[in-house]
């Protein structure tokens, strides 16, 4: 008894207290409640994309578990004998047949398949949008750089989960997708052919690939995703959430609602809302009707085929690459007998490599250029970081050009234009689009910042037109209240940090590059209004509409 004296001195009075006491004296649960029970989370609609990602992943686990109960990942040949009449007696793989059974003979099976597939599309989409939110608001800055990396890894894993699942039903569409993958793998120098044969267990298509992808899809990839999500959320707890700028919000506090009860209720309720919305989609909108495509056969192919949206940018890059440009083929026979297929290798690896490489490195690139090593818990409004917003938009445009290229044939048939012209235009946009996007976005950001300055200095437009005694018409501007004012002036506007000599008095090459980048990013900038400027705007001539208009308006409204 003497060993448990600490628990004996505390006498719980309620039933809940007795349960708490039991748990706490055995596993020490009260510290968790103390830590999380009233932990503060800031509230903003843009913070919900990450929640959507988490919740769609839960739906994927639930619906996926159901599907594994019935799916048979075997590529053995069989004759279909289920209830879908048009395919009766057709030769197919067991995997395809069991997918048909799930669709036609298992009640609710089709619903679960569609729920699973739609959630998968939404999962990758919400991960992507969540990352865009984090990027454009600068939430990846110190101390959250590592969590940004975890997020990048999660995006790659999400793509892997999607692709491995897409190929499982062994239908015509996914089979052709696998064939493209096989072609890309074979283009890898030196080891490509062996790699292809190892993956497919011999020649394409073989009888091994579905079973191998299945293990990846239901075990390896989801386990890694779960691990990464755990690390991701753990770091969110350590760092506490970022918050948007606003009155009362500083770098040293976090303003929002406590987990219990408001935040937990909202976030928990939101899970059911996400589930409900995906259920509406799955109940009403058909996705991947594999019975229309038929079992995989290397000979037929349907026109206008599309991969799932998230693979589109790679497929589009494959389409954009010219095999022969101005008479020069992008395929060489080198070392007297070995083929190097740059027409496949370049588009398959380079754009994705650049996109993910820049994504992984961006927190450090930005830190290096700005020399800003401080912690940031207040988010940037995208307009207040024109260089970053413009860079992000350039990346998004680059991605979207490749993505659009994956639908080049559908664009051509839908808008009755030449397929070749669509490709030529997209090839041009591939190079010009990001540059135009960068310039236009930066100008828009600077213009919005100037508009903010206007509003701060001259007040907001009220829409009231007043005629002055001498006949002049003016619009009444109302000054902002302190809270709105604070929202518009509380940001930082980084300045050019010119290249500086190091300890030996030399300016190194990288430092010169940094200086040039810094000038490129921050040469054009709009500074926040200072109190002095506001005071000046209120007093000196030409800027006194606020007061004069207000006083005149009062006179005229009497």
């Amino acid at each position: 008894m003497s060993a448990s004296t600490s628990s004996d001195t505390y006498q719980p009075k309620t039933n809940l207290g007795r349960v708490t006491n039991f748990v706490d004296t055995r596993v020490g649960g009260s510290s968790i409640v103390k830590e999380f029970g009233r932990k503060i989370f800031p509230d903003h609609w843009s913070f919900m994309f990450g929640e959507v990602a988490l919740y769609t992943f839960v739906i994927l686990l639930l619906s996926g578990t159901f599907l594994t109960l019935f799916f048979d990942p075997s590529m053995a040949h069989t004759q279909y004998d289920g209830s879908y009449v048009p395919l009766k007696g057709v030769e197919m793989s067991v995997a395809y047949a069991s997918t048909l059974d799930i669709s036609f003979d298992i009640r609710g099976g089709l619903f679960m398949r569609q729920l699973h597939h739609w959630s998968a599309l939404l999962f990758v989409a919400s991960v992507s949008v969540h990352m865009l939110r984090v990027f454009f608001t600068g939430a990846f800055r110190r101390p959250r750089e590592l969590n940004w990396l975890v997020g990048c890894v999660l995006l790659i894993l999400a793509l892997a989960a999607g692709f491995t699942g897409y190929s499982l039903p062994d239908d015509l569409l996914s089979g052709n997708g696998l064939r493209i993958i096989d072609g890309v793998i074979k283009a890898i120098p030196l080891i490509g052919t062996y790699l292809s044969m190892l993956i497919f267990g011999g020649e394409f298509p073989g009888t091994a690939i579905v079973g191998r992808l299945y293990v990846m899809h239901i075990l390896v990839v989801p386990a890694l995703i779960l691990l990464m999500i755990a690390i991701h959320l753990f770091m969110v707890v350590i760092h506490k959430h970022t918050q948007y700028p606003g009155p009362g919000r500083t770098e040293t506090n976090v303003v929002g609602f406590p987990v219990g009860p408001v935040y937990a209720a909202k976030a928990g309720g939101f899970f059911f809302i996400v589930f409900g919305v995906v259920a509406v989609i799955a109940g009403n909108f058909q996705i991947l009707p594999i019975w229309d495509y038929g079992p995989y056969d290397p000979s037929p192919v349907s026109a206008g085929t599309q991969p799932d949206w998230y693979i589109g940018f790679v497929d589009g890059a494959l389409r954009l690459m010219p095999g022969v440009l101005w008479g020069f083929p992008f395929e060489y026979v080198i070392f007297g007998g070995f083929t190097l297929s740059l027409n496949v290798l370049l588009p398959a690896l380079v754009p994705a490599g650049i996109l993910f490489g820049l994504m992984f490195a961006w927190p450090w690139i930005e830190r290096w250029v700005t020399k800003d090593t401080r912690e940031h818990h207040i988010l940037d409004r995208p307009r207040n970081a024109p260089f970053r917003t413009a860079t992000g938009v350039a990346g998004v445009i680059w991605y979207c050009v490749m993505w659009a290229a994956a639908s080049s044939d559908l664009i051509a048939t839908h808008f009755l234009v030449s397929l070749n012209d669509v490709t030529y235009w997209l090839r041009a946009l591939f190079f010009i689009g990001p540059i135009i996007g960068f310039i236009v976005t930066r100008r828009i950001c600077l213009a919005l910042q100037r508009k903010d300055r206007e509003i701060v200095l001259h007040g907001r437009e009220t829409g009231r037109i007043v005629r002055l005694p001498h006949g002049e018409f003016i619009e009444v501007h109302a000054p902002l209240n302190d809270y709105k004012l604070h929202r518009l002036v509380s940001f930082e506007s980084p300045e050019v940090q010119p290249a500086e000599p190091d300890a030996n008095g030399k300016i190194s090459g990288t430092e010169k590059l940094r200086g040039r980048l810094s000038r490129f990013f921050f040469e054009d900038r709009v500074a926040p209004v200072t109190p002095a400027e506001l005071a000046a705007a209120h007093s000196h001539g030409g800027h006194d509409e606020v007061e004069t208009a207000e006083s005149k308006a009062e006179i005229s409204s009497r």
Binding site: L198, G283, N284, K451, A527
Partner: protein
């Protein structure tokens, strides 16, 4: 309104003055005052919100019931329509069940639970003191192992660690029994193998192939082959007939066509999709996956898209009974390029 020059960074001198010191910044007015909601002030509004939440939960219960109606009341027959109806009922049942709970809880939280924003202080992830302790600890631990003082141990361990994972890679060798790239060079086609229709396998008479027509072709005996799909993935052929004067035949291929009937591999030389679209008027073959376009009149040379080399041609002739036959295998590997292709 008025003078816009204040927004311009170059003309107004804002660059020099902005954000230099705390004095020049606006004071933070602090959190805005809490604005009470209707339900905070009006007991009737509170009661109303409570009822709305309860109604939403009841809608969820109805949704679950709807799911079971869809599950048990709809008997699946052999029509797609009943399947669609069941799918719709299951979907909408689940949707109402979930949305009822979700919207109900969120409505409850937004109208009835306290909505005071609270500020909490952030803390440094760890104190510098802890960091110093950790650093000395790790240094001591490394010191005690003596790994720095004993390079022999360190280097042999490194060598062992580099080699140790190799079996984990090597053991994957048997993922494929066969690793010889030469299998990619040969197909089922050979001298005398008849061209037959895909997928029925019935042979094709030269007289069946009229000008402008196209046939999807497999080699005779493919349907009975042991590795049918693997063979088919290499051997599928497109057969078309043009006016012989439209064909530009290169030297050495004069006897590869028969009266303007030509056979080309159907596997795209880009990444292997079937080149399934034949534009009769222009004599172009188009791959629907990545739009590589091949000109039939120029021995399927690439004229557009990402492919680099022409579709391989299958030399054909007719046998004694008038059926089309191959006179040999393809003279180059079909399908996408690979390192050993040459």
């Amino acid at each position: 309104m008025g003078d816009h020059s204040h927004g311009s960074p170059k003309s107004s001198g804002t660059v020099a003055t902005a954000g230099q010191s705390e004095v020049e910044k606006f004071q933070d007015p602090g959190l805005p005052p809490h604005r009470p909601r209707l339900a905070d002030k009006d007991p009737r509004a509170e009661k109303r919100a409570e009822k709305q939440v309860a109604i939403l939960f009841v809608i969820s219960i109805i949704g679950t019931l709807l799911f079971f109606v869809g599950y048990f009341a709809i008997r699946l027959d052999e029509t797609i329509a009943t399947l669609r109806l069941q799918n719709f009922l299951l979907g909408m049942g689940t949707a109402f069940a979930m949305l009822g709970i979700g919207v109900g809880i969120v409505h409850w939280a937004k109208t009835l639970m306290p909505d005071h924003e609270i500020a909490e202080e952030r803390h440094a992830v760890r104190t510098e003191e802890d960091r110093v302790i950790a650093e000395t600890m790790v240094t001591e631990i490394i010191e005690e192992t003596g790994i720095k003082r004993r390079p022999l141990i360190r280097n042999t361990l490194l060598g062992a660690m580099i080699l140790a994972p190799l079996p984990a890679i090597g053991i994957l060798r048997d993922l494929s029994e066969d690793l010889n790239p030469d299998v990619l060079r040969h197909t089922m086609w050979d001298a005398g193998v008849r061209l037959t229709r895909d997928p029925s396998g019935t042979p094709i008479k030269a007289s069946d192939v009229t000008i402008g027509s196209a046939f999807h072709v497999i080699p005779e005996g493919l349907n009975e082959a042991e590795h049918k799909l693997e063979e088919k993935a290499k051997a599928v052929v497109l057969l078309m007939r043009l006016n012989p004067e439209d064909l530009h035949v290169s030297p050495g291929r004069e006897d590869w066509n028969y009266n303007g009937i030509v056979a080309y591999s159907k596997i795209c030389t880009h990444v292997g999709c079937p080149v399934a679209l034949y534009e009769q008027q222009t004599h172009h073959l188009l791959c629907p996956c990545h739009q590589s376009t091949f000109d039939l009149t120029q021995e399927c040379k690439v004229i557009f898209g990402p492919a680099t080399h022409a579709l391989p041609q299958l030399p054909i002739s007719v046998d004694d009974e008038g059926y089309l036959v191959a006179t040999s295998d393809f003279h180059e590997p079909v399908g996408p390029s690979f390192w050993e292709r040459g």
